[in-house]
Symmetry: C2
Subunit: 683 residues, 2 copies
Amino acid sequence: MADDSAARDDALVIFTPSGKRGRVPKGTPVLAAARQLGVDLDSVCGMRGICSKCQVSPGYGAFPKHGVTVASDALSPINAVEERYDRVRGLKPGRRLGCQARIEGDVVIDVPPESQVHKQVVRKAADTREIVMDPATRLYYVEVAEPDMHEPSGDFERLKRALSDQWKIKDLSASLDLLRELQTVLRKGEWKVTVALSRGHHDDVPRLLQIWPGFHEGRLYGLAIDLGSTTIAAHLVDLRNGQVSASAGVMNPQIRFGEDLMSRVSYAMMNPGGDVEMTAAVRGALNDLATGLAGEAGIEPGQIMEAVFVCNPVMHHLLLGIDPVELGQAPFALAVSEALNLTAPDLDLTAINPRAGIYILPCIAGHVGADCAAVALAEQPQKSEDMVLIVDVGTNAEILLGNKDKVLACSSPTGPAFEGAQISSGQRAAPGAIERLTIDPATKEPRFKVIGCDLWSDEDGFKDATQDTGITGICGSGIIEAVAEMRMAGIVDSKGLIGSAEQVGTPRMLPEGRTHSYLIHDGTATGGPRISVTQGDIRAIQLAKSALYAGARLLMDELGIDHVDRVVLAGAFGAHISPKHAMVIGMIPDVPLEKVISAGNAAGTGARIALCNNGARSEIEAVVRGIHKVETAIEPRFQEHFVNANALPHATDPFPHLTAIAPLPDVSFNIGSDREGGRRRRR
Amino acid sequence: MADDSAARDDALVIFTPSGKRGRVPKGTPVLAAARQLGVDLDSVCGMRGICSKCQVSPGYGAFPKHGVTVASDALSPINAVEERYDRVRGLKPGRRLGCQARIEGDVVIDVPPESQVHKQVVRKAADTREIVMDPATRLYYVEVAEPDMHEPSGDFERLKRALSDQWKIKDLSASLDLLRELQTVLRKGEWKVTVALSRGHHDDVPRLLQIWPGFHEGRLYGLAIDLGSTTIAAHLVDLRNGQVSASAGVMNPQIRFGEDLMSRVSYAMMNPGGDVEMTAAVRGALNDLATGLAGEAGIEPGQIMEAVFVCNPVMHHLLLGIDPVELGQAPFALAVSEALNLTAPDLDLTAINPRAGIYILPCIAGHVGADCAAVALAEQPQKSEDMVLIVDVGTNAEILLGNKDKVLACSSPTGPAFEGAQISSGQRAAPGAIERLTIDPATKEPRFKVIGCDLWSDEDGFKDATQDTGITGICGSGIIEAVAEMRMAGIVDSKGLIGSAEQVGTPRMLPEGRTHSYLIHDGTATGGPRISVTQGDIRAIQLAKSALYAGARLLMDELGIDHVDRVVLAGAFGAHISPKHAMVIGMIPDVPLEKVISAGNAAGTGARIALCNNGARSEIEAVVRGIHKVETAIEPRFQEHFVNANALPHATDPFPHLTAIAPLPDVSFNIGSDREGGRRRRR
C-alpha cells in the first residue's frame, strides 16, 4: 500500500537544460521543486506571482531521451495570478510562472536562459572565461511582519527576520540614513518592500543599500574600472545580466604630474601635498566618467550601486589617497596589499549611489598590482593544466607563470618603448599611427597600415583614405613589427645593428652619424613627418624586450623549466601585438605560434568578473595569497638574463618554433661607434 | 631518572591573591607562568620591559598556608632591564618586572591590584555591582616585521600579523585615513608601534583607532552617557582603571521643544523638520558636554575613544536622527531596537576622537528603552535568586520584574507628578525645594528640609542657612513624603480626601473651593511663596502612584505571583524616595522595609559597565532578547489595576509589612464636589 500511495502521490520532474531530476509530491509548485533539486531558477518576489522571473516552458508529449511521456494535465491549469499577469504584462506562449504552476504528473520543464539566476554571459571569442552572474548586489522583495505590541521589536529587526525567513539572508547592517527612511517606506508599501542589498563576501554582514515601497522593478548597475597610469577604462554593467550598458575610456588626468608611474612618485616626493593633488585629480576623473556613463545609458547615478577597481600599485595608493613614496624605493612596501571593501564616500565618488560598495582587488606585490590579480582572475593560470606564461604588457610588464601546481609573478621594467615612447618616430596608438608593417625581403620595400584606415599603404585609395589622419608616426605594435620585419629582411642583424645602404642594398638606409636608420615613409613633401627606425629605436626595443624576456626567464628558472606550453599576451597593447613578430624580436620564449594568444584587456575582464560574481572575489584573494612573488630588482640572475637576452634571435639559436615560421638571415653588420652603448636601463 | 630530572628542572609557583598554582620549567619568566596558569597579570609591551604593567611582589621565606618555603634565589637576580627601569622610572621596594624575573625555584608571587588587567573598580555603597575592567578599547604595543622583497606584503598586513602573533588579535580593520598614516608611523617608530584598538563584540573585526610610533604611554578615555529627557549626565572614564575622571550633567536642550517626551513627539509631528532640529540640539549639547569634561580632566578630546549611550526610546531615535513619530502612537514601533555600534561621525560627535566607537544599548520595547536595559545590566534581575521588582522612576516608570527564571518588563505612564510637575507648589529638585517632610501626628505641625541645607526647619539657624536659596517649592521626593505624612497624620483619608480645619483640628487646613489644602510654609510675608498641598496635588500623586503600582501588578499577574521579595528604586529620583513613604502612599507592593533599596542612577551605572566591560555588551543584548515585554496600553487588566490602586492604603488592607511600620489612621472625609474627579490619566 505504501508503494501504491507513493506512485499516486508524487511525480517525476525533469528540468532542462540542467538535466536535474527527482520526485516531488504532487501539488508542489515548479519553483519549489526547482529549489529542492538545486535547479537554477530565478525569483525576486518569493513565490508571489509578481516578478515573473521564474518563467518556465513545460514540455508535453513523449520525451524518449528522458524516458517519460508528459500528459497535458501534468501541470495545474493556468490560475488567476497567471491570467492576470498575462493580461497585464504578457506571457510568451507556452510559458508558465514557476511559482504558480503546480506539478500534478511526470513532467519535463525547461528553464529559459533569462529565468536563470546564474546566467552565463556570452563573451567575445578573444575572452577565455565565462562570467557566471552572481553579483554581490541585487534586489530582494520581502513581506515584513507588522509591529506587534505583544512582541515588540524594531521595524529593522522585523525586516531582518523577513530577509532571513524569505531569502535565507542571515544578518543585515544599515546606515543611519536608511534607518531614518525605513519606517516611512515600510508603511507606504504596506509592509511589502524591495531592498537592494550588498551581500559582501567572507563573513561580512550584508549591507542595506536602498529600500523601496512595494515591488520595485528598477535595475542596478555596477562599474568595472581598469585604472591605468595612462587611461582609465570603465564599463557600466547591468547587474541582472552582466551586459555592458556603456563603456568609456578617458586619459588619466595625473599625466600632467608625470607620464609614467615613477615620475608621479617623484612628484609626490618633491612636492608636499603632491599625492593629495593627484588623488583629487583621479577621483574627479572617475566622477566625470561615471556621470558620462550614466548619461549614455540613460540611468540615474543612484542606480550605480557598486564599483570594482583594478590598478597597478602606484595607482592603487593614489586612488586610496595613500602617499606612494614607499613604492618608489626598495623594498617597495605597499601600505596595504589585501583586497579592500569600501564605500563610495571613502573615495569621494559622489557621482554614484552614496551607499555603493567599492571592491578593490588585492595587490600581489609592490610592483605587481591589482591589475595583475585581475589578469589572473580572468586567465586562471592556477587552474591551467599546461604551463602558461601570461604577460600584461605595459610600461611595467607584469608576468605570471605557472599551472595548477604553482603560480609565480613578477614585474619587469620594460620602460615605455613598447608604447611608442622614446622611439624617434614613436607615438601613442591613435589615428595616423603605423600599427602594422611588412618589408619585402627582396626589395626591402615596406608596406604598412595606419590606425583609422583599413587599407595597406600599397593598396588603391590609401592616400585618400589617410588624408584626414595623415601618417603621423609609429605606435608600439608598429615598432615591434618594424624591428621584426627588418630582422627578417636582413636589414638588422642578430646583435641589433642596422646595415648601411650598401650592405642592405636599398637607398632607404640613411646614414645617421656612425649608424644608420631605415626610412619607412617620407611625408616631408606634404608637410608631414619623416618616419624611420633608427639604431636608437632598435636599442630601445632591445632593452624593453630583454627586460620582458628576462622576467619570464627568471620565473622559468624559479620553476626549473626551460620552456612554456602557452603564452598569453594581455593588456590593451597585448591585443595588438603580432605573436610572430613578438617571437622574432625575442620578446617571449619560443613556443608554437598557435600557442601565443591575446587575452585582450584581461585586467578589465577580471574587474567585470569580480563585479558580476561575488564568489570570484574570495577566489582571487585566495589565488593571490598562493602566488609566489619574485622581485626582479634584487635578483642577480635577472641582470644576467637581461644582458643575455639583449641580442635578437639568430637562426642558430635553439628556437625551433621560431625558426620554423620566420627567416632569420645570417647577416652581420658593424658600427663605427655605438652611441647607444652607454645607455642604461632605467626602472 | 625522569622523576629526578623533573624535580630538578621545574618549580612550583603560587600566585596570590588568586591562589592559582602550578609547576613550570625553571627559567620561565613570571609573566609567562602567569599566562600559562591563567593568572590575571597585565602587560602592554609584550615582555619587553618597557611598560612595567606586569609588576609583581615575590614573597620569600616560609608560607605554611601554601606548604612552601621560598629561597632567596627563587627568582633570577634583578637584571639590566629592571635596573634601568628602576633608575629611570622607579620601582617600589620588593617589586620585580614579571616579564624579566625568571622562576628558578619554588616561589609565592603576589599580583598587586594595579598589575591586574581585570581590575575591579570599587563602587559606592549604593551600587550593587562590581565593574570588571575589560574595555573594548585599549592600547597594544607591537613589533612589526620589516618589509621583505622576497615575501612582499603590505605594511598593514604585517601589522595584522604582529597583532595576531603577539596579542592573539585575529583580524583588523582600518579606515583609509589611518592607512594613510601607517607607513610613516611604522618607519618613525622603527617598526615598533603602539596601537589603540576597539575590539568590538560578537564577530566584529577589531578596529584600529590610532597608531603611535614606539611605546605610547597615553591614556584612553570613554564617555558613559545617560541621555535623559530632562538632563544629560555623562561620566568621563579612564579606560585603564575605570576611574571617573570627571562628571557633568546638563539640561537637555530639547526641553525648549517640549517638557516631556510626548510633547517632543508632537513637536516633530506638527513641525516638518522638527525632529532634525531636536537631533541637532541634543548632538550640540553632547559635544559641549564632551568638551567640558575633557577640559575639566585636562585631556585632549582625541583621547576620548569610545562612548556608550543609554536613553529612552524617544531620546534614542532623536539621538540617531530618526523621526520618533511612530513612538507616539500604537503600536509604538521602534525603527530599530537592537544594540548599535556606530562611530563618532555618525552622530556628529566632533568633540571626541573622530574614530571613536559609539555603543548604544538595545531598547526593550517602544516604551522601554536602552535606559531600562542599562538598569537590567546594573541590577541583573536575570541572575536574582529572589523575586525582584525594579522601578526606574521618571515621567514614564520603566518596570522590571523577575528572577533567574524569567524577567518581564513594562512601562507605565506615571506622568510628571513624581518630578514635581503638575503639583501646585511643585518644582524640580533644586536648592530651596522641600525634599523631606514629617508631620507631627498630634499637632499636625510640619517640619521639613530643603535642598541645599542640612538643617531641619525647626532647628536653630535654619532661617539663616536658607536665606540664599529661600524656600521655593516642593520637589518630587518632598511631595511623596508630604502626602504620606498627611496620610499617617490623619489629614488625608484612604480615598485621598483632605479633611477640613475642623475635621483635622489645625488651622493649617485651608478651604479651597469645595476642597481643602494643607499649608506647609507661608513665605508671603517676606515675598516668598505659600507652599501647600492641595486636593489636586493629592489626586496627581494618586494617579502617578496607581499607574506605577498597576504596572507592577500587571507584571506580577503575568508571573502569577502576589508578592515580591525585593524592590529596587532606580533613577536619579529613585535615589531620593523614602521607601517608607513610598509604601505609605501605595507606590510599590508591600515588602519588608529593609527590602526596598535605592540603586541610585542604575541606568548610568549600566552605561559605565558597558563602557568598561566589553563582554557586558553581549550579556545585556542576550538579557534583553530574553526579557518578556508587556504592553500596558493595550492590557485591560492594567486599567483595572489602575482604578483599584487609586486609593491610598488603609489599615485594613492586606499589607502586613506596611501596617507594621506606619500608622494608617481610619479617618474618612468627604467633599462637596470633587473637581478633580473628571481628570483623565494621560500617556
